[in-house]
Subunit: 190 residues, 2 copies
């Protein structure tokens, strides 16, 4: 699925690659859709942990949030595995809401308490942000929006936290450390 897209990957192909019979997949996933969701949850969860690893040392909770959404955008637009899953926005947005929500919502709340953001309903802001984020990623990978607009995208998403355009621009402009390479995470069982 991450190779050729959810639609293009047939269940038979998937089974063959896994070296199992066509029906075996259905012992683990009720449907093709459920499998796609599991794949997405893995991608999301892994990335959330890798972000957490870096932002651990940040002082400003607003910056933690900003780094998080920026990294999601960058990953979704540069990692081919993500790009292949970007159709079916509603499914991927839902997976992002659930898997990265605990972190993002926590950061939104912390930043609000610190007076950096002005968010009364963090869950709602996060939900809107996931959809906008996926939409933006899709627009970039399909060439409708240049990748160079990433900064502006992040600024606008930060605006949703209630800080003004200026504060958002400053926050988005701060230097960002690099993520550590992938590979430490364990596969969750199914």
């Amino acid at each position: 699925m991450t190779d050729k897209g959810v639609e293009a990957a047939t269940m038979l192909e998937i089974a063959e690659r896994a070296d199992v019979g066509a029906g075996t997949v259905y012992n683990y996933f009720k449907s093709k859709d459920e499998l796609a969701i599991a794949v997405l949850e893995n991608l999301m969860h892994d990335l959330a942990l890798r972000i957490e690893e870096v932002t651990d040392t940040f002082e400003d909770p607003a910056q933690v949030y900003a780094f998080g959404i920026r990294t999601v955008l960058d990953t979704a637009t540069s990692d081919l595995r993500w790009a292949q899953m970007l159709n079916r926005s509603e499914v991927i947005a839902d997976a992002m809401f659930r898997m990265m929500g605990p972190f993002a919502i926590r950061d939104l709340r912390l930043a609000s308490q610190a007076g950096r953001f002005e968010v009364s309903n963090a869950e709602l802001v996060w939900r809107l942000t996931t959809h906008a984020l996926i939409g933006a990623s899709l627009a970039i990978t399909t060439g409708q929006v240049p990748a160079s607009a990433s900064d502006q995208i992040i600024v606008r998403l930060l605006c949703m936290t209630g800080i003004g355009a200026n504060a958002a621009t400053e926050l988005a402009g701060r230097p960002r450390p690099a993520l550590k390479p992938e590979g430490k995470g364990k596969q969750p069982k199914t």
Copy 2:
């Protein structure tokens, strides 16, 4: 499609309802997907015109924009025809971007020039807003978010225009006139 959802409506059913043969539909639309897009474009276009009709008399361009996105949200969550099309978010967001974009982007620019908004890239803000709007509508129709959160949703979407949370709350709170009933619009030819 607006009755039972895009997936649930088979091409045969559609053809039967239109009183034509199964193949005839393909003389007008290359594929089921293209038909769905045409349906969406109609819904979008009609609503855009109905909104325009009301906002014609508004003084404040910011209020025009606010009324527009509010009406889209309300329509998407209460009109069953819209609700049925809400899956396939990326397609509906794209249709909204294209069909309502000319109006929305114009209003964003006007409001910016008037010093009400702070938007440098209106097209981008509109694109993010369409995705968030569709996502929010979906969340409401699936019960993940209560319809009573509509106000907050609009406030947050207005925040993306760079005005702060307070100004957004004020703008979203203004009384809204009712749309005129449907039915005046002509069907665009295909």
